[in-house]
C-alpha cells in the first residue's frame, strides 16, 4: 500500500487558471511533478506568476478554475505533508518571538487545537536548530538575526514539520554565499530522504547546479521536465522574451470581463 502511494505524483495541476487581485495571472496550466525526491526550480521573468503558482499550490490563493492535487489527494487532506518557507517580506519581524518559538511552530499543525507543545517537541525543535547551526541563537529575538540566520530559522521550522513536500519562495534572496551553500546542503539531505522540494528561483546561473527538475513559467507553462532536457537557451529565451506580454494582457482582460475578482 505504502509503495503504491509513492507512485502518486508529488504535484498534479490541471487546467489551472488563477487571477488574484493584483497578483500576476496564471493561464491554463497543466503540470505534473513526479514523486521520489525531485529538486524543482520554478523560473520565469518578473510578473510571470511564480509566486502565484506557489500560493495556489499551498491553498493561499484559490484558483478561478482547474484543480490541484498534492500526493494524489486534495490539499485539505495532505496539509501535514507540506511545509512552506515564506518570502522574507511576508513575516512581521518585530513580533515578540524567539528563534526557538518560531521553530516550535513547526509542530502546531500536528497538535490538536487545545493542546500545548510537549517537552519532546521542545527537544525536537532544539535538534532542528542544531541541524541548521543556530542553536546558540535559540533565545534571540528574530529581528536581532541577520537575513541568512533568519532564513535558517525558517528552514528549521520547515524541517520540524517533517513534511513530504517543501515549498520555498526565493530562499536564496538576500543571503550570503556561505548560508546559500549550507542551505543547499540541507536540501540535498532532504532529497536523499526522497522529499520533494519546490523552489521559486530567480538566479538562472545556479539552476543547473542546484536543481534536477525545472518548471519554466510565464503566465502559461512553457516547459516542465528534467533540467538537462528543459533548461535550454531556446526555452529560456522564449520565457524571457517579449512575446508573452500579449498573452499576459489578454488573459487579464478575459478574466476581468468574466467578472472574476
Amino acid at each position: 500500500m505504502h509503495s503504491q502511494e509513492r507512485q502518486e505524483p508529488a504535484i498534479e495541476v490541471s487546467h489551472l487558471t488563477a487571477n488574484y487581485q493584483k497578483a500576476p495571472v496564471l493561464w491554463d496550466i497543466n503540470l505534473l511533478i513526479p514523486a521520489g525526491g525531485r529538486m524543482v526550480a520554478i523560473v520565469g521573468p518578473n510578473g510571470a506568476g511564480k509566486s502565484t503558482l506557489l500560493k495556489v499550490l499551498l491553498g493561499l490563493v484559490s484558483p478561478s478554475s482547474g484543480h490541484v492535487r498534492i500526493l494524489g489527494r486534495p490539499l485539505e487532506e495532505v496539509r501535514r505533508s507540506i511545509a512552506y518557507i515564506p518570502q522574507r517580506g511576508d513575516v512581521d519581524w518585530d513580533f515578540p518571538i524567539t528563534s526557538l518559538d518560531v521553530v516550535m511552530m513547526g509542530c502546531y499543525g500536528r497538535m490538536p487545537l487545545l493542546r500545548w507543545p510537549s517537552k519532546r517537541d521542545r527537544d525536537l525543535a532544539q535538534r532542528m536548530l542544531q541541524k541548521v547551526g543556530m542553536l546558540p541563537y535559540a533565545h534571540r529575538q528574530i529581528s536581532q538575526l541577520s537575513g541568512g540566520q533568519q532564513q535558517r530559522i525558517f528552514l528549521a521550522r520547515a524541517l520540524m514539520q517533517d513534511a513530504e513536500i517543501y515549498f520555498m519562495d526565493e530562499p536564496f534572496a538576500g543571503i550570503d554565499a556561505v548560508t546559500e551553500q549550507e542551505i543547499f546542503h540541507l536540501f540535498q539531505e532532504l532529497q536523499k530522504e526522497k522529499k520533494t522540494l519546490v523552489v521559486v528561483h530567480h538566479d538562472l546561473s545556479t539552476v543547473e547546479r542546484y536543481f534536477d527538475w525545472v518548471v519554466v513559467l510565464n503566465t502559461c507553462l512553457i516547459a516542465s521536465g528534467p533540467t538537462s532536457e528543459v533548461f535550454q537557451a531556446e526555452t529560456i529565451l522564449r520565457a524571457y522574451g517579449a512575446n508573452y506580454a500579449l498573452l499576459n494582457e489578454a488573459a487579464r482582460l478575459k478574466l476581468y470581463q468574466a467578472g472574476l475578482p
Binding site: R79, R80, V91, D92, F95, P96, I97, L113
Partner: protein, 449 residues
Amino acid sequence: MDLLHYFSDPVLRAPTIGCMLMGFAASLVGMLMLLKRQALIGEVLSHAAFPGIVAGALVASFFPWETGDLSQILVMASAALACLAGSWAVSFLKVRMRIRSDSALCFVLAVFFGVGVLLASQIQMTHAVLYKQSLLFLYGQVATMTDAMIPIYALLAFFTLAIVIILYYPLQALLFDRQFATINGLRTTLVDTCVSALLILAIVVGMRSIGVVLMAGMLIAPAIAARPWTHRLWACFVLAAVFGVVSSFLGNVVSVEGSRLLAEKYPEWKFSLPTGPLILLFAAAFALLSLFFAPKSGILARIIRMALFRQRIAREHLLKALWRKGRNSLISQEEAAEMLSQSLLIRWFCLLWLSWEGLLTKEAGGLYCLTDKGWARACRIVRLHRLWEVYLVDYLSQGVDKVHRSAEELEHVMSAELETELEKLLGDLRFDPHSQPIPSREEATWPTR
C-alpha cells in the same frame, strides 16, 4: 490612607473592582490588536457601540416595571450587537467593496457614531433620563456601578483570559506568520472570530467605566507600555495586564482621594476628578515612561548609547595621538586637552576612564604615559584604520586621498569578526596607501606573547 478599603467599602468596591476587570480585559485584547497591527479597529468598534447603547436604553424604557441591572445587561447586549454590525461593515467595505482599510475604518466610525448621536438627540426631549444615562457611556461613570454587575464583568474578563490561554499557540502563529497558520490548517477563521469576539467583550466591559470614546486608549496604552520590555509573547500579555490593572486601580484611588481633597480645600469650586479619564492618563503615563526608559529601544538608552560612543571615540583619539608621539612619551593634562579639543568634562572623564582601564598611568609630576596594554590598544586602532584604507583603495578602487575620512569613522566601530575577515582578505601587510607603516598583529594584541 488605607488602600485595602477600596476593596471592602460598600460604595467604593464595585467601581474599583469593575475598573480593574475592565483594565485587565482591555489590556489583554489591546495587546492582541497591537500585535495584529489593527490598533484602530478598537477605536472604530468602541464608537460603533454608541448607537447600540442608546437603542438598548430605549428598549429598556419600554418595560413597564423598574429594570435597574436588567436594563444594564440589555444595554450591554445591544452595544455588543452594534459592535458586531460595525465589525461586519468594516470587513464588507474592505473585502467586497475593495476600499482601503483606513478609509473603511474612518467611514464606519463616523457613520455609526453619527447614528448614535442622532438617536441620542431624538430621545433628548422625550426621554430626558434615558438621554443622560446613555451619555454616561460616552466618557464612563463608575460611581454608580453596583455590586450586581461585578460577577458579570468578572465572568467576561475571565472568559477573555481563558481564550488567550487556550488559543495561545494558534494566536502566536497567526499573528506572526498568517500564511504559515493558513497552510498548516490552524483554523485561522475560528481564531480570527475569537479575537473579534474578545474585542467586543472588552468594549462592553469597558464602556461603563471608561466610556466608548476613551476605550481605544485603554486598549492600546497598556500594550504600548508592555511591548518594549520583553521579546516574549506571554510576558507581553502579563505586563500589559499588570499595567492595565494597576492604572485602573490608581485612577480610581486618585479620583476618589483627589475629589475629596479638592472638596475640602476649595468647596466653592464644586470640582471632582472623573475616574475614566484618570485611568487612561495613568495608562498613558506608563506608556510614555516605558518608551523613555525601556532597555535598548528606549529614548534614554539610546541617548546613553550615543554618549558612550562619543566618549569612546574621544578616548581612542587620545590613544592614537599618544601613539603618534611614540612609546614612553609623556604628556601633561594641557597637551591632552589640545589633542582632544573637547569640553573640560569630557577630557577629564576620558583620562579617568583610560587610567581606570589600565591603558594610561599617571607618572610623577602629573604627566600621563601609555602602559603596555594602552600601547597595544593604540596599535590596534591605527592598524584597523590603515587596513581599512588598504581595503578601500585596493578592493573598491577608491582614491587614496579620499579614504582617510571613512577609515576615521570605521576604526571605532569595527567588530572582531569584521577585523578577522579583513585580515583574511588582505593578508599580512606592512604599509597603507599613504606609505605609512601598519602595526603588526602581534603589536596590536594584548597580552603580547
